[in-house]
Symmetry: C2
Subunit: 120 residues, 2 copies
C-alpha cells in the first residue's frame, strides 16, 4: 500500500482511531494470553478504574474485537476473550508496535523528555 490509501481510505482511519482510547490496546493485551473474568482483568491490568474498564469493554465489543460470555451462576461469572478479529489485530499490527517500542521506545522517550526540558 502507498501513502495515498492512508489518506483516503476510511478503513485505515478507522483502525488508527482504535488507539484514540488509550486503555483499549491494554485490555486486548491482557486478554491475549486467554479469556479472563472482569475482576481478573482489573487485577491483571492494575490501576484501571471500574468504569473505564466497562467503557473499554463496551467499545471493544462494539468493534467486534472481543467476545463476551456470561454464565448463569452465583456470583455471576462473565468471561471476556479476544475474537478472531481481535486476535489477528493483536498478533499482527499491535505486536509490531510492541516490538518497535522495545527497539526504539527509549529514543522516543528521550525526545519527549528533551522537549519537556526546553519547554520549562
Amino acid at each position: 500500500m502507498d501513502q495515498d490509501e492512508f489518506l483516503a481510505d476510511c478503513r485505515v482511519r478507522a483502525v488508527t482511531d482504535l488507539f484514540v482510547h488509550t486503555w483499549d490496546p491494554v485490555v486486548m493485551a491482557a486478554l491475549a494470553s486467554g479469556p479472563l473474568r472482569r475482576r481478573d482483568l482489573r487485577l491483571t491490568i492494575g490501576g484501571i478504574r471500574d468504569k473505564v474498564l466497562t467503557d473499554a469493554l463496551h467499545r471493544l465489543l462494539a468493534n467486534g474485537l472481543i467476545d463476551r460470555r456470561a454464565h448463569a451462576e452465583a456470583p455471576p461469572r462473565v468471561e471476556y476473550a479476544l475474537s478472531d478479529l481481535g486476535r489477528s489485530l493483536f498478533d499482527g499490527p499491535i505486536q509490531a508496535l510492541g516490538q518497535w517500542a522495545l527497539e526504539h521506545g527509549d529514543r522516543l522517550l528521550d525526545a519527549q523528555e528533551r522537549s519537556a526540558m526546553t519547554r520549562s
Copy 2:
C-alpha cells in the same frame, strides 16, 4: 515479547499513546513519500485545519518523529520530513496497521455499524 511487557513497559504505552492524536499518523503518511512544505501538507491531507496541523507538527517534532528545516527566503519556506525514527515507525508498525486495515477493515466497520444500529 509477551503480553506482560505490554502491561508493564512504559515504552509500549508511550508508543500506543502516539495514536491518541488522530491526525499525527495522517501527517506522517503525507510525509512518507518525501519532504513537504506546510502549505503542501495542508493541501495533500485535505480537510485539516491550520491550527490542528500546527499542533500535530509540534507534537511530532517533540517526539522526534519529523524534522523541520526553515529556508531564509521570501515568502518563507519551511520543509517537514520524516526523521529516521519516524521513518522506521512508519515503514514498520504503521504500515502493518494499514495492511491489516485493507484486509480486515471492512469487518471492523461492519461491527461498528451493527452496534450503532442496535443502539438506535
